[in-house]
């Protein structure tokens, strides 16, 4: 046993030494190899093989999606050529720091994707002109997008609480309706533990919904043009305060009543009455028996009666190309194929999101009441998309979620009041914004 071990060790050591000095493995000259960092589910092997068979000069390799790996690669300059970006709302942050390739020219000359076929509102987050999202240069396109403000609700729970179904064409209001509904639908047991959450906040997407409300109210997240300071305007503060009520009054899950699993899982297990997740959630729901009758949809709420409609895509998951890629032309070819080519078509049929291009919309499923209504609501909501109020000084979601979560437990447990909470939330974000400001030398 030990002799074998020693022998093995010597052999491996020699082998390794030899291999290192023999010039550790370059890629064979010839076809160009492109790396695409994406989840396995979003780029199945059959499609990679199909691409490689049809394009012998471009060898497409998938890299496991891993956030730390991407950051490490970006820091040393070897990031994958293409990446699936989880949140389009991060685009200003990265574009400003020179990590994403400007693909406007490529798009204009593309044969596969026609400029007028691209849905400008749905893909809005992937455009940035140096100051605002939604205009200017293109940095990517969505894989598909969704109206994340749309409401999915449990009809049986509504019936039990004596509430009428919601209209599928007229949106309800945040101020008057959503909060009241949430309260009425919450159910607690004898020891005060929540059994059913009336309205479950979708995992810290508050800042996106708050953005819609801010547009309607005519106020802004930031108090300066540079977008480097949080806005002390009382109207803005009230918008943030609105959302805290769901936590403090146990309408959503909080530290006192933790939910097992995420919002969607809790909803599918019939522990949540209303959730706001978006069109794609309908595809997830297909696994619940009887979903067609039991659940229904309503459009994204408006701020109050008479407010204008504003809706949001959360940025949407999409594809971007690394600015320092060695093969931008080839990378763009893969990009086209992924977004609108055969794979894009296949995806549209599954109903997991609204395609980035108009021409693929007709493939979305509408086989039953549930699917048809969510599709119609989505198309209608899509007319009112606005880009989220991103500041390119900080990232899309993480600082907001971090700031919120840092103090929300104290608020729920009654250790601080709502104003102090907003102060702390602002302080956290201001710190991040200042750091971003220094970083960019502004």
């Amino acid at each position: 046993m030990k002799l074998l071990k020693t022998g093995l060790f010597m052999a491996f050591f020699l082998l390794a030494a030899l291999a290192v000095f023999a010039g550790g493995g370059q890629e064979a000259k010839g076809p160009v190899t492109l790396t695409f960092m994406v989840h396995a589910a979003d780029l199945p092997e059959e499609f990679i093989d199909k691409w490689n068979a049809a394009n012998p000069d471009i060898n497409l390799v998938r890299v496991e999606e891993n956030f730390e790996k991407w950051v490490a690669d970006a820091m040393v300059g070897t990031a994958p050529d293409l990446r699936q970006l989880g949140l389009g709302s991060d685009t200003p942050y990265y574009a400003r720091r020179g990590l994403f390739l400007d693909i406007t020219d490529y798009l204009e000359k593309s044969e596969v994707i026609k400029m007028d076929d691209i849905d400008p509102l749905g893909n809005g987050h992937y455009r940035w002109d140096g100051t605002e999202s939604g205009k200017g240069a293109w940095y990517g396109l969505t894989k598909d997008y969704n109206n994340i403000g749309a409401l999915t609700y449990n009809v049986e729970m509504f019936n039990k609480a004596g509430l009428a179904k919601l209209s599928e064409t007229n949106p309800i209001t945040y101020q008057n309706d959503l909060y009241e509904l949430g309260k009425k639908l919450s159910v607690k047991d004898s020891s005060g533990n929540v059994v059913i959450w009336g309205y479950e906040i979708g995992s810290d997407w508050i800042e996106f919904l708050a953005s819609d409300m801010a547009y309607a109210e005519g106020t802004n997240f930031y108090s300066d043009k540079l977008m480097s300071k949080m806005n002390e305007d009382p109207k803005m503060r009230d918008i943030w305060k609105y959302w805290t009520r769901f936590y403090t009054e146990d309408i959503s899950s909080n530290v006192r009543n933790p939910a097992a699993g995420w919002t969607g899982a809790a909803f599918q297990s019939d522990r949540v009455a209303i959730c706001q997740l978006g069109y794609w959630f309908g595809a997830q729901m297909q696994s619940n028996p009887g979903y067609n009758e039991k659940y229904a949809w309503a459009p994204t709420p408006i701020l109050r009666t008479g407010s204008k409609r504003y809706t949001n895509t959360l940025g949407a998951t999409g594809t971007v190309i690394y600015a320092k890629t060695k093969y931008p032309n080839q990378a763009f070819k893969v990009f086209e194929w992924y977004t609108a080519g055969e794979y894009g078509l296949d995806r549209a049929k599954t109903g997991w999101g609204i395609p980035a291009v108009f021409s693929l919309r007709k493939y979305l499923p509408e086989d039953n009441k549930f699917n048809k209504s969510r599709k119609d609501i989505a198309f209608e909501d899509a007319k009112y998309f606005v880009p989220w109020m991103a500041s390119s000084l900080i990232k899309g979601q993480e600082p907001w979620a971090g700031g919120w979560n840092e103090s929300i437990d104290d608020l729920v447990l009654g250790k601080i009041d709502a104003d102090t909470f907003i102060d702390r939330f602002y302080a956290y974000l201001n710190k991040e914004l200042q750091a971003g400001k220094q970083e960019l030398g502004l």
Partner: protein
């Protein structure tokens, strides 16, 4: 030695077994939870009142757990990487542990502290620069990198070997030296066999660390060469990247099975060490 056990000894033995059974029961609870969860369907995971035991056990979760991540392929990757790492690591650590234990050199204590202190440096400090170095020398995405990585040993194991060697009296080597053997002969013929127990323990740890290492494979390897540990974390998700806990639990069973077997086989070998009661003979 073959005395009849007195009543007292028998009683002590029974008490011991009972305590062990109790411990095992408590330790086993989370494992029971794991098995039960692996048999639930997705809908049964989060309902309230909770499903204690699924109405119909979903044995096909186990099939899904295998096929969903192409278990065979990544199993092979894991075996390769673990072997590449374990063998050099155990040998390298044993060498170094012996060195630190036996040779009275002035700077020994300082170097030992230096070695220990590398364990204390949070790995994230070295992660990015290490990645840079490794990809510059062209070793990224190469499985045999783990051989090179293993050769240096691991501070934990070096320390362990040193402690083991320190329990062996100097007299063993002295007598061999007097008979004219050189250092290496002493090491391989006498010292190494004496620490078989430590070698087995080190092998168990090294194998296990490389088997369950997530960060290094995911950073250094591309998708196909990655290990089971990575697939376990990333693979059992639905379309929107939410974790499928039920299939994931089945996946854990598959994942730990090889290590359980390795451990069970190896631990029998150091029963021999325990029975003989030490170094004599």
């Amino acid at each position: 030695m073959a005395m009849l056990m007195s009543r007292q000894q028998q009683l002590a033995k029974i008490v011991k077994v009972l305590v062990l059974l109790l411990l095992v029961l408590i330790f086993f609870l989370p494992i029971v939870s794991m098995f039960v969860t692996s048999l639930k369907s997705r809908g049964e995971l989060y309902v309230f009142p909770p499903v204690v035991f699924p109405k119909e056990p979903n044995w096909d979760n186990y099939l899904t757990a295998w096929t969903m991540i192409h278990y065979e392929r990544y199993f092979l990757n894991s075996v390769i990487i673990s072997l590449f790492y374990t063998v050099p690591c155990v040998m390298g650590s044993c060498f170094a542990g012996y060195g630190f234990s036996r040779f009275q050199v002035k700077e020994r204590k300082t170097i030992f502290m230096l070695m220990l202190s590398t364990m204390m440096v949070p790995y994230m400090v070295t992660l990015v620069p290490l990645y840079l170095i490794v990809s510059r020398i062209g070793l990224a995405d190469k499985r045999f990198f783990w051989i090179i990585w293993g050769v240096q040993g691991a501070p934990f194991l070096i320390f362990l070997f040193r402690q083991y060697f320190s329990t062996i009296p100097f007299s063993f080597e002295e007598s061999a030296r007097i008979e004219g053997a050189n250092r290496f002969q002493i090491f391989f013929r006498i010292m190494f066999p004496l620490v078989q127990t430590a070698v087995i323990i080190a092998a168990i740890f090294a194998f296990q660390w490389s088997w369950s290492d997530y960060l290094m494979p995911v950073l250094f390897l591309r998708a196909e060469k990655v290990t089971l540990a990575v697939k376990l974390v990333n693979g059992y998700v639905d379309m929107k990247q939410n974790i499928l806990h039920n299939i994931g639990m089945a996946g854990i069973v598959y994942y730990t099975l090889p290590i359980v077997i390795v451990f069970f086989v190896l631990q029998k070998r150091f029963i021999a060490g325990l029975l003989s009661g030490g170094l004599k003979g």
